[in-house]
C-alpha cells in the first residue's frame, strides 16, 4: 500500500516538470510582451529595453527556464507586473478560499451522487430510477455559470436568503459558511449527475456478479449485500470518474469564483491573464496543476485502498 503510494509519487515528478515547462512556454508564445506591459503605454523603447534586461527577458530561453526553476525551488515565483506584490503572497491569500470552495463542493455532491446512483441502480426501472436519472441528465446539461446565475438571481437577489458576492470570512465564522453555500452548491451541482450515473451503471454491473449471488447465498441481508459486496466494488469506477472530472471541477472553480466574486486562485488566474500579468498567471497555473496532480495521486491511492488487486501491481 505504502509502496504503491510512493511509486505514484515518484511518477508524479516528471509530470510536474512537464507542467512547469508547458506553463513557462505558454507565456513565451503569448504575443504580448511583459516588458511593454510593465513599462506602460507611454514608455520609450530605451525604458522597455531596460526593463527587459531587468526581468532577464533578453537572455536565451533555456537560461530563462533554468533561472525560473531555480527561483521556484527557493519558493520565489516572481512579483506581479501589475502591482509589484510577490506572486507567492497573492497565491497564499487565495489558495485557502479555493480549497474551501472545492472541499465544500465535493463534500456534499459526491455522497449525494453515490446515494442517488445507488438508489437508482437498486430499484432499476422504477419511478425512483427514472426520476433520479432525469435529474442527473439535467444536472449534466446545465453549465456552471448558468446554475450560478440562477441561484444568484433567485436565492440571493429575489429571496435574499444567502449572500452571493465575495467571501464573508474564514470558514469557522457564520458569515464565512453562509457565503460559501451558494458557490459550493453551484460548483458541486455539476458533479452530482455524473457521479450518480456512474454509480448506477457500476452498481448494476456488480449486482449481477457471481460474488453477489454468493453473498446472498450466505444469508446476508439485502442491505449488507449492497453495502459490502456491491457498492464497495462499484466504487472503483466511480473513483476513476471523480478523478477524471476533477479537471472540470478546476475549470468550474474558475467560473464559479468569477461569478460569485470568490477571492480564490481561479479568479486570480483570470485577472492575471486578462491583464497580461505573466508571473502571476504562471503562478496560478502551477498551483492549479499541482492541485490536479495531488488529486490524481489521491485517486490512485484510494484505488489501491478499494481494490487489493491494484496494490501488488
Amino acid at each position: 500500500m505504502l509502496r504503491h503510494a510512493l511509486h505514484r509519487l515518484i511518477l508524479a515528478v516528471p509530470v510536474m516538470f512537464g507542467v512547469l515547462l508547458i506553463g513557462f512556454l505558454l507565456m513565451q508564445v503569448v504575443p504580448t510582451d511583459p516588458a511593454t506591459v510593465r513599462a506602460g503605454p507611454t514608455a520609450t523603447p530605451d525604458v522597455i529595453a531596460a526593463i527587459r534586461a531587468d526581468l532577464g527577458l533578453d537572455r536565451p530561453l533555456t537560461v530563462q527556464f533554468g533561472l525560473y526553476l531555480w527561483r521556484l525551488l527557493q519558493g520565489d515565483l516572481g512579483t506581479s507586473i501589475i502591482n509589484n506584490v510577490p506572486v507567492v503572497q497573492e497565491l497564499g491569500a487565495t489558495i485557502v478560499p479555493t480549497l474551501e470552495l472545492m472541499f465544500a463542493s465535493l463534500f456534499w455532491s459526491i455522497p449525494l451522487g453515490i446515494l442517488l446512483g445507488t438508489l437508482a441502480g437498486y430499484w432499476r426501472g422504477s419511478l425512483i430510477d427514472r426520476a433520479i436519472m432525469a435529474f442527473s441528465v439535467a444536472g449534466v446539461s446545465v453549465p456552471v455559470f448558468f446554475l450560478g446565475l440562477v441561484l444568484i438571481w433567485f436565492v440571493g437577489f429575489q429571496w435574499q436568503l444567502l449572500p452571493f458576492t465575495g467571501r464573508g470570512g474564514p470558514l469557522w465564522t457564520m458569515d464565512g459558511i453562509m457565503s460559501l453555500i451558494l458557490p459550493a452548491v453551484t460548483l458541486g451541482g455539476v458533479f452530482v449527475g455524473p457521479v450518480a450515473r456512474m454509480t448506477r451503471t457500476a452498481l448494476l454491473d456488480v449486482l449481477s456478479a457471481d460474488h453477489v449471488r454468493t453473498a446472498r447465498a450466505k444469508g446476508l441481508t439485502e442491505r449488507l449485500v449492497v453495502q459490502r459486496h456491491a457498492l464497495r466494488n462499484a466504487l472503483v469506477p466511480v473513483v476513476t470518474l471523480i478523478g477524471l472530472q476533477i479537471g472540470f471541477l478546476l475549470g468550474g472553480a474558475v467560473v464559479t469564483e468569477t461569478v460569485f466574486s470568490w477571492p480564490g486562485v481561479g479568479r486570480l488566474a483570470v485577472g492575471a491573464i486578462l491583464s497580461s500579468d505573466f508571473p502571476m498567471a504562471q503562478g496560478t497555473i502551477i498551483v492549479l496543476s499541482m492541485g490536479f496532480i495531488v488529486i490524481n495521486l489521491t485517486v490512485d491511492v484510494l484505488y489501491a485502498a478499494l481494490d487489493p488487486r491494484i496494490r501488488g501491481a
Binding site: A209, D210, H211, R213, T214, A215, R216, A217, K218, G219, L220, T221, L224, R228, H229, R232, N233, L306, D307, P308, R309
Partner: protein, 331 residues
Amino acid sequence: MSATNDGLLSIEGLRTVFRTHGGEIAAVDGVDLSVPRGRTLGIVGESGCGKSVLSLSVMRLIAHPGRVAAGRVMLDGRDLVQLPAGEMRDVRGSQVAMIFQEPMTSLNPVHTVGFQITEAMRAHDARASAAELRERAIEALNRVRIPAPERRFDEYPHQLSGGMRQRVMIAMALACRPKLLIADEPTTALDVTVQAQILDLLRDLQQETGMSIILITHDLGVVAEMADEVAVMYAGRVVERAPAGALFNDPMHPYTLGLLGSVPRLDEERESLLAIDGSVPPPFALPRGCRFHPRCPFATAECRTEQPPLREIVSGHSAACLRAPVEAFAA
C-alpha cells in the same frame, strides 16, 4: 408422484417460470425430487435443462423476472417456498448452503478470505466475538485442507489458485454446518487433478458432518463417483430417477441412454462415440408430447401427443417414457 417424507429435503411439483415478452416460460416444470439425510443426489443434464434454476429455486435466489410459480420445497417439514423473506434468509447459509461453478468470480475480490468466511458465520450468529470467529474460520479453512490457514485468512482471493478458491468457497458454505449443500458444477472450471481432490474433499466432509449433498453436473463421471441417487433432467423435467448403480447399468430413458453413449469408456471398444442428434429445446419452443421425442430414435406417434409422467418401472427406478422399459433400447 409425491416424494417420500423421511428425507431431509423433498421437492414437490416445483415449477419456476420467467416472464418474457412472449409470455411466461417454465425453466423448471413440475419437478419432484427428494434427498435423504447424509446422502448425495446427483442431478445431470445438458446445459439449459433447468438444473441450475432448480438449485437456485431451492435457495429462493431466482432473480427477477423469474419466480417459483408452484410447488413445495420441504426442508425438515418447513416449506421454503412459503417462508417469509427474513426466515428464508436465516435458512440460507445455515441450513442450506451453496457452492458455484466459478470459484474465480464467486468470491468478492475486495474482501479477504477470512472476512468472507467470518461474515457467513456472523450472519447467523450475531453474538460471537471477532477472535472467536477468526478461530472458527481458521478451523474451517483447516477442515477443507488449506495449508497455512492462519496466513490464508488475511489473503485476498486473487492470491489463491482456482482449486484453493473452491476450497475457500466450500469452507464458507460449511461454516455454519448446513444440513444440505448444493454444489452447482463445483469442479467444472477446475483442472482434472484438482477436480478429483475437490470431490474427495466433499465426500470426506460429508462423512464427517453427515450433511446431504445435491450435486449438479453435466459430467456423468462425477455423478458416478459421488452420487447415491441420480436424477436426469431434460428440458425442465426429471426424465429418469434411480440409484446411481441402476442408472448406469440399466438406463431406462432413451435420453439417459444417449448421455451414457456419449461418454468415452476405457473398458469397451467402440468405433465412435454416440451423439444425440439436435439440442435441448429452449423453454419457449417446447415440442408437444414428450419433450425428447424429436431427438428420440424410439419415438412413436403416441410420443408426439402425450406427455409421459415419471413412473416407477422397477422398484426405486423411475422413468418418464411411454415405451420404457423397451428391450430394443439395449440393442
